[in-house]
Symmetry: C2
Subunit: 695 residues, 2 copies
Amino acid sequence: MVFRVTVNGAWRATRTLWLLLLVILSVGICVCRASSLSPEESNSMENTIVTEKKAEESHRQDSADLLIFIMLLTLTILTIWLFKHRRFRFLHETGLAMIYGLIVGVILRYGIHVPRNVSNVTLSCQVNVSPATLLVNFSGKFYEYTLKGEINPTESKDVADNEMLRKVTFDPEVFFNILLPPIIFHAGYSLKRRHFFRNMGSILAYAFLGTVISCFVIGLLMYGCVTLMKQVGQLDGDFFFTDCLFFGAIVSATDPVTVLAIFNELQVDVDLYALLFGESVLNDAVAVVLSSSIVAYQPEGDNSHTFEVMAMLKSFGIFLGVFSGSFALGVATGVVTALVTKFTKLRDFQLLETALFFLMSWSTFLLAEACGFTGVVAVLFCGITQAHYTYNNLSPESQDRTKQLFELLNFLAENFIFSYMGLTLFTFQNHIFNPMFVVGAFLAVFLGRAANIYPLSFLLNLGRRNKIRSNFQHMMMFAGLRGAMTFALSIRDTATYARQMMFSTTLLVVFFTVWVCGGGTTQMLSCQRIRVGVDSDQDNSMSISDGSLERRSTKQESAWLFRIWYNFDHNYLKPILTHSGPPLTATLPPCCGPLAHLLTSPQAYENEGELKDDDSDLILTDRDMNLTYGDITVSTDGSGAHSSGGAAFSGIGADDLDRELTYGDHELVMRGTRLVLPMDDSEPPFSDPQHRLRM
Amino acid sequence: MVFRVTVNGAWRATRTLWLLLLVILSVGICVCRASSLSPEESNSMENTIVTEKKAEESHRQDSADLLIFIMLLTLTILTIWLFKHRRFRFLHETGLAMIYGLIVGVILRYGIHVPRNVSNVTLSCQVNVSPATLLVNFSGKFYEYTLKGEINPTESKDVADNEMLRKVTFDPEVFFNILLPPIIFHAGYSLKRRHFFRNMGSILAYAFLGTVISCFVIGLLMYGCVTLMKQVGQLDGDFFFTDCLFFGAIVSATDPVTVLAIFNELQVDVDLYALLFGESVLNDAVAVVLSSSIVAYQPEGDNSHTFEVMAMLKSFGIFLGVFSGSFALGVATGVVTALVTKFTKLRDFQLLETALFFLMSWSTFLLAEACGFTGVVAVLFCGITQAHYTYNNLSPESQDRTKQLFELLNFLAENFIFSYMGLTLFTFQNHIFNPMFVVGAFLAVFLGRAANIYPLSFLLNLGRRNKIRSNFQHMMMFAGLRGAMTFALSIRDTATYARQMMFSTTLLVVFFTVWVCGGGTTQMLSCQRIRVGVDSDQDNSMSISDGSLERRSTKQESAWLFRIWYNFDHNYLKPILTHSGPPLTATLPPCCGPLAHLLTSPQAYENEGELKDDDSDLILTDRDMNLTYGDITVSTDGSGAHSSGGAAFSGIGADDLDRELTYGDHELVMRGTRLVLPMDDSEPPFSDPQHRLRM
């Protein structure tokens, strides 16, 4: 009874608030319209004042446009809350953001008529090359203009026509340089490393091989489709094979944000989660670099769209160069941040620490872009490195702060992109919807995904002990949504006929996959009988306690390559970059003695019990930990160094590897929230699913 | 012994890291240089590819430029850490950021020679008005250009000359629209409301009257100075009286960020802190609106710089209109946010809650700008409203998150502005340093501040029981630093001779005040014998427990106007907008019964003990609280509603007012960190200075 009253109250209140927000939204749109109406009246005034006024008008207009998006996001947030509150799972926040975007797009397109802005001028010029900056002499006064881009001759009339719609159209580079980086960084930073590393081989196979396969399959199918269209006479412009491949590359970037949100909520099997998440994170990077190397495919000579081995090799070289360069840069800045946070006592000042972390992560992006690599890819690997090393050096408060900060940025950027996507279906002015191309594309996307998942899973299963079952495969097939990255790649260049058709088709693919595949996830899960409600921590402690079977499989999977990396990481990288791991003096050859001494943090020697500075209580707690749960012989890092100090140099034992893999995340959770800060709750350390979720 | 080793290690490590960062910084500058060198080579290639390449180059250049700033900030953070670590107080982070900015400015100016970029083109055009968008036909292809601004004819050569320096020059509007809002919002959001309200009368007097006095005193003195310069023949361009007044307005915005940081650290007397902080926060708003109304002073007729009553009145009307409009908008969005957070159960999903809070606060700015008001002012009052109402509705986690988020944004924006300030001394290309004007300006700034503080303090002391002593007055005089707002206002328009001279002079004023006045704060404090180490909480509980003397003075000061407001706030606004306060059914007249019932949150009725939803444990804890510290009869809001439920309608008692004023902040601290989340520490609730500081 009491409960009903509250819920009814909430309903009523929400309805009121919704109305309120709709009112605000319409006010926003009106303001928007008003500010674009006013310039006309001031034509007769003095010249400088006119310029000033115009700048002011344009600024007001921009504010009003942004306001519309903010209102859209606010509306989305309130609706999401309502959905979460009532446990609706058929529509994710991103799908919702798209719907709201669509609605506002329709209003802007058909509801508002802005009169022609007469002050656009077309000049002619004898110079051959378009300069980046233009000085124009208007009756004695000089004005500076900056290049915005090329415009189709047919389009040049529309520019003057539809000021309003053009205004709500962002520079596509905004997506790449402002909105994508936080999303991608967050993906890297929030990677569940334990499960990721356990399935690394498969993930790499899906991400690299799978994306390339998918790209070429889609490209070939689309080429067939385009050739057919040409013969039927449905094609009005050029569409080359490289265009088809480009299309293949951009729609190969999967983004199962919806699916993973539901997985998280339902606690679906961790391996499936790891496979999907790992694949989608990495294949974004692959798709970006792939598409840019396809664009770089430029055979010499007149006919620039024939096949040529040299150009092909060059493209391949670009792919490798850009990818490895971005990778190296991302890792490098991560390592620098780890070193800085290790060797300074910045942790005493959390604000400084968080700011430094944020700035260094951002600088990765800028550095990569400035060097001609791909910032998004660099940021991804920077995020993974930061999570693996730097995170352990941060103070507990900064760990929370950085996580929350990037979570928020990710949330805002993601919902902004999706609502913009909805908006753009109506406000973008060069859509080319070709039914045949659209149908072909849907088919190609489906087949491309199938050609990625099923054959690779078959091959991987030959080597895996812990097979990827067929229901997992179907689920992965189904979960291949297209999202932010696909959109950002396709809107980046919409100059040619082919690109415009691609963009329109891509939008439809994204809409379909997010709404239909995203919405059907729960049904698909129950249909495929994939177990839900698996607590990843419980799962683990069970697998530890009920024998060595699971452990074997992990060992089996983590083959020689991975084991070498793991040993290297544990013996050298972790001790150098963090406060954990064995002391370097024990792992490095004796000749490097002084260097090792310099680089090893005092905490690594804590077993000698001589340093009791403010960090050592962390290790003490770790040791307590070890005593309390001694029956499962967990050795977390701090005391792990102690016990394996002697054996470390001769290579780490297989059990150690397994243990650390299994408890890698535990250690993090413990440090972050329980042992160091005795504040969170009083539950036993091994059953804290709620907290994990909230992280 | 052990300690020395660590510190030495830290020193050595820091030196190494510094070197590393300097290397990175120089790499950044090199990359920057390299990217601006390359466009030359590609002149012979195809046209479209050239455009693409150019856009790419320009993007790389932009990344490299931003990278320089990021590196500057990183360097600043590391140095600040070192200073804090060793407790150097003579240089604040902002002063440091300026120094680093200066160094990089010198390097960019004299160290790097970028060859002329030949591709700038000057066109002539017959049209009279400069259009916002320009379509240029370069040999058959159309390119779109956007207006960047007017350029002096003399300058038009420089544009081509110094690409590099121009590149590191940001659009001045960036400061106003991106960097200032978080700073100002943070100021409002982190206002210590208890002390602010206690001294509100004085603060308003200093902020409004004081700023206007200071503006006119400086304006008149500068007009004298300029007239003198004209007669001596030192003036090369126009400098009108309105320009002088404008200068007065922009240098009247004080920003004692350095001083307050030191006050915080040393725990200086809370009343002095409140006076300075309150004044500086509000006078920023006054200065912005004042300067824009001075710009709007446009007498009719040919001679636009004579005195005219109508234009003067119009300016005054603009001042009032813009200020009150911005105020109303800011408060309105704050109220909407409070309502949304009160009536939805968003607090269950902290991410959504934080995102909503952030978006609503940002939308204030955009809404104000779109309506033609001043966003910065709106954001300030929005921040205060959010802190006063919305903050209480947020979940404890979101309270922390929002505080930390805005703290970080404030930190980054502030240091960015200050390092840009240093940079701009060398990279800005139209400096006009006129020794006479500079000396005059320094004198005027000094006298203007004096004419603000001393007479007003005298007048205020007539009415105040708790006098502003003369050492406080000297300290306030000394603490009138100029900072981010002054800079942003002066860089906004540097088109005319007068404005350029103002900008250069303003820079010098900022440098001087930040370094000299900021650096000398500790000395000044000890010289003026102002007591330090005052714990604001202890101070309070003392004043409560040792009798009614202090209480009287508070009551005296909170005169009729304030008391009316307080009663209104406590009886109506707080119950409507938050979960606290007496139920509206008790305070509103009976005829509004249903409405009151609708708006009152269930928590307000908790004394009837029928609703036990997830928020009520908060109130239970509050009540426990009340029991434990019953001897001082603290009644925090939740249970305060209980005890004063009957008396509330007939007007609140004077003691209640005093109590709540005194415990307003306590309640916040308790809810935020101790009672609801029993995690923070085990200290008794009334002695938590450290935590307060970290907040």
